[in-house]
């Protein structure tokens, strides 16, 4: 292919093939129908042109034909639907044990923070072959994290976390785009995802250095902000003991249960009144406006780490879906 005119995006993730596969199927079916329609129009238009076919033959319609061209496209569509949904659900369900990176989008840059504490701006280094899960939120407007080579994309919202995962399968440097219009420099909110061999990645990590891992930073904040005064590691605190909370179902005082995921912790910190843990009084103050998006992520990472028996193995809790659910 010409160097200046690539016509197809690179495939650098485990999922890319599936998306392309469905795309090719869609392309094939569409090409078939488009050519069919074009061909029929052309043939009819020539064959029955006025000069050779002066008298039209009136035809009312045909029920079998109508049924055929209702049901056949419908059947085909169901295939698209099923396959497309399968891919989507895979995309929505990050595998257990993924390496986590926290992402903050802001006008107009991407900030990354690895669990091990390394920070990057507009560049994301990841090792090949490893599942990477991004926990993302925005400091201002809606952005969108998009890596064409991985065929993944997710909006990055203010006020809540969204996630996205991929497993890079090819080393190289790939485009990272902000794909949701976000103001003046939307088109410059771009960066690179750099996929490295694991060894190189380790080297990069250590060269980069960090002041403490993310949970460590979170722990510090936990002390600084005074969380520790209420949340103690025994049963004496005014607030619940946060050990082991993350990923578990939490019983609320109005009888509902919710799973303590990242968004729950986030809400607990910024808007503690929205969901009250059963057996406690709503005395926790709101930290809205006092913690930056990054600090919030550190706190979340810390609270998450409190629930993890072994480090580096994020405890995937697949508690059954709560009956009554709630917007995050």
């Amino acid at each position: 292919m010409w160097k200046n005119l690539p016509l197809f995006p690179e495939r650098a993730s485990a999922l890319a093939w599936q998306v392309d596969g469905l795309y090719f199927l869609l392309l094939g079916v569409s090409a078939f129908f488009t050519l069919l329609i074009f061909a029929l129009i052309l043939v009819f238009a020539l064959k029955y042109r006025r000069s050779v076919h002066p008298h039209a033959v009136q035809i009312e319609g045909s029920l079998p034909l109508e049924l055929a061209w209702t049901l056949i496209p419908l059947g085909i569509c169901m295939i698209f639907f099923a396959w497309g949904s399968l891919i989507y659900f895979q995309e929505a369900r990050p595998p257990k044990g993924a390496m986590e990176v926290y992402v903050v989008g802001k006008q107009w840059m991407w900030k990354f923070e690895h669990e091990t504490g390394q920070r990057e701006i507009n560049q994301l280094h990841v090792p090949i072959g490893r599942d990477v899960r991004l926990v993302m939120s925005s400091q201002d407007v809606i952005h969108d994290f998009f890596v064409p080579a991985f065929r993944v994309k997710a909006d990055v919202l203010p006020g809540r976390f969204t996630e996205l995962w991929f497993r890079p399968t090819k080393t190289g440097t790939y485009h990272l785009f902000c794909s949701q219009y976000c103001g003046t420099d939307h088109s410059r909110m771009i960066g690179q995802v750099i996929v490295m061999e694991p060894v190189a990645f380790q080297a990069w990590l250590s060269a980069e250095g960090a002041t403490g891992t993310l949970p460590e930073n979170g722990q510090q904040l936990f002390q600084q902000l005074g969380c520790a005064t209420c949340h103690r590691f025994d049963t004496q605190g005014r607030g619940p003991n946060l050990t082991g909370v993350f990923g578990k179902a939490v019983l609320l005082d109005d009888g509902r249960t919710v799973v303590a995921d990242e968004n729950y912790v986030r809400e607990s910190i910024l808007n503690p009144g929205a969901k009250i843990v059963s057996g406690f009084k709503p005395i926790m103050p709101s930290f809205q406006g006092q913690v930056s998006e990054e600090s919030l992520m550190a706190l979340v990472a810390y609270i998450k780490s409190l629930a993890q028996p072994q480090p580096n193995e994020p405890g995937g809790n697949h508690a059954p879906a709560p009956e009554k659910s709630n917007v995050q």
Binding site: N271, G273, A274, I276, K281, Q288, V327
Partner: protein
């Protein structure tokens, strides 16, 4: 039917209709279509209400406890009465009694203004209590034993409260204007037993506005009397 009635009717027949029946049915149907658009217009707000109430129930409860149920209930009653006088007014028009119609519609207007007056009192109260969303918003339950649990989302409750009741009040104001117009035209002899479509349509509008309030009242005022927690 009296000849004068027929004259009024013929005068009112627009050129593109075949007869009065077609014209009357057409404009009533048009009015209903318009009310459909009104339903969808309010529907957007109700949808927002539904979403947030489902998500932030407690905050909505606390917000609703700031409502004065008695004023709200009185206003409901006032509107229902105004609907009755409106219905009777339309009936008077149907029977070709413009004076009676004018009296009944005047009662409607008075009741409508009464509604707006009471609403203004409530608005004033909320305003002084900083219960208007925006920079000045400040929310406390007023009960030290139960501090506000979720003031952020209570502000959304108030945003919706102001938006929904404000839009409703705007419709009331328009309604009062329309009824005034009908009274003046009616006294001028515009309507008769054969032609009273505008009266009927304004009536439909008025009842619709009443209908919206019938839903607004329980949704905004009567969420729950239970205190936080």
């Amino acid at each position: 039917m009296a000849t004068s009635d027929i004259q009024v009717a013929e005068h009112a027949l627009q050129h593109h209709f075949a007869d009065m029946e077609q014209q009357q049915e057409t404009s009533t149907f048009g009015m209903w279509m318009f009310l459909v658009t009104e339903i969808m217009f309010f529907g957007g707000l109700f949808c927002a209400y539904l979403v947030y109430r489902a998500s932030y129930y407690q905050a909505f409860v606390e917000g609703s406890q700031k409502m004065n149920i008695w004023l709200g209930a009185t206003n409901t009653a006032v509107l229902i009465c105004s609907s009755l006088s409106m219905a009777l007014g339309v009936r008077a028009a149907q029977m070709g009694k413009p004076k009676l119609m004018a009296v009944l519609l005047l009662i409607t207007i008075v009741l409508g203004c009464g509604f707006l007056g009471i609403k203004a009192v409530e608005y004033h109260e909320h305003w002084v209590n900083h219960e208007f969303p925006g920079p000045n918003f400040h929310f406390e339950t007023g009960d030290p034993a139960h501090p506000a649990t979720d003031p952020v989302h209570t502000e959304i409750y108030f945003s919706l409260y102001w938006a929904m009741t404000g839009l409703h009040a705007l419709h009331m104001v328009i309604g009062v204007g329309l009824v005034t117009w009908i009274i003046i035209a009616g006294l001028g002899g515009a309507y008769s037993r054969a032609y009273f479509t505008p009266v009927e349509n304004v009536g439909l509008y008025w009842h619709f506005v009443d209908l919206v309030w019938i839903y607004l009242f329980p949704l905004l005022y009567l969420i729950s009397k239970k205190h936080g927690g």
